[in-house]
């Protein structure tokens, strides 16, 4: 069993409207294959005086400047997406997972067509689905689950983002 999986996610940094910005990348702790990582809490808010709507969560290839993985951002993204694809198809558990009601049950796993930029996962956390109101703070938890069959220990980097609609 390999125990050397470490995943770094870039985090939310929105300037218009200004979100409370997490400047530093976030690291999941090293994770054994066949296990979920420790979860990372994400708190999302903004400083607009009106709501942002149509909020969705998505994963994409890492776009930050501090990549120090092995295979490159695109390959890392494809790997984690493939883990989710396999799990969604009934295979072993794996992929990027989201818990939107903070019950430590990660109800969503990102796979092709679910949690990508083209098809984001709807934000359900918060007072109203898909909406982050002025002065509201939405809390979600995320983690990585490494499939048991993975044997190639390595560091992986991905972006996790928010897609939303806003009227200036």
């Amino acid at each position: 069993m390999s125990n050397g999986f470490k995943v770094t996610i870039g985090n939310l940094a929105i300037t218009d409207p200004d979100f409370e910005e997490i400047v530093e990348d976030q690291d999941f702790d090293g994770t054994y294959a066949g296990n979920g990582s420790t979860s990372i809490p994400l708190y999302i808010s903004h400083n607009s005086t009106s709501s942002i709507t149509g909020c969705g969560l998505f994963m994409q290839a890492y776009t930050g400047a501090d990549y120090s993985g092995v295979n490159g951002p695109t390959e890392d993204y494809n790997d984690i997406l493939a883990w989710g694809d396999a799990y969604n198809a009934g295979g072993e558990e794996g992929g990027f997972q989201i818990d939107q009601d903070n019950d430590e049950v990660f109800e969503s796993t990102i796979y092709t067509g679910n949690g990508t930029l083209a098809v984001p996962i709807s934000l359900t956390a918060g007072a109203n689905p898909g909406i982050i109101a002025a002065d509201e703070e939405v809390h979600i938890d995320v983690r990585i689950f490494v499939p048991a069959s993975e044997t190639s220990a390595r560091n992986l980097y991905i972006d996790f983002g928010l897609k939303y609609t806003y009227t200036s």
């Binding site: 870039g10 929105i14 200036s168």
Partner: protein, 154 residues
């Protein structure tokens, strides 16, 4: 100029470039909303316009994505509400694109061919009864323009 421009019945206009919006010096929702006859959205390369000879209700909303490298506008949107008065006035609405190529009309999917009218670089969509109560929406991303009709503006 990336952003939007409102045009009013008294021949004045209001600009909301991305830079002005980011600086807090322009806001669609807090700016003038009455007396609008047309609105543009532009990504700096292509400009899309919706307008009519008469005053109408317009709205704007853009889609953004955020990640660790900041925020990016991936889709700009301008919306015009079709009212009962528009229909009763036998009104026409134009939708056009101005870019590297000549202005072209982008409404055939909205109106039946018999309801389309051309005049120079503009073409027009007649307001039919089935459009009343809906929004005509024009969306512009980096490469493409699309239009559709919906009861719910974004």
């Amino acid at each position: 100029m990336e952003g939007w421009t409102k045009y009013f019945i008294d021949s004045t206009s209001e600009n909301g470039s991305d830079k002005l919006i980011e600086a807090g010096k322009a806001s669609w929702r807090r700016g003038r909303l009455d007396g609008m006859v047309a609105a543009d959205i532009s990504n700096g390369k292509v400009t899309v316009s919706i307008g009519s000879p008469a005053v109408g209700q317009f709205w704007q909303s853009d889609t953004f994505i955020s990640s660790n490298v900041g925020t990016k506008c991936i889709e700009r949107r301008v919306e015009r509400y079709i009212s009962k008065e528009d229909f009763e006035a036998n009104l026409y609405i134009y939708i056009r694109k101005k870019g590297i190529e000549a202005s072209v009309l982008l409404v055939p999917f909205i109106a039946k061919p018999s309801e389309l009218h051309s005049a120079g670089f503009e073409q027009y969509c007649a307001i039919t009864r089935d459009l009343v109560g809906q929004w005509i929406i024009a969306e512009l991303n980096d490469k493409e323009v699309s239009f559709y009709i919906t009861k719910d503006k974004k």
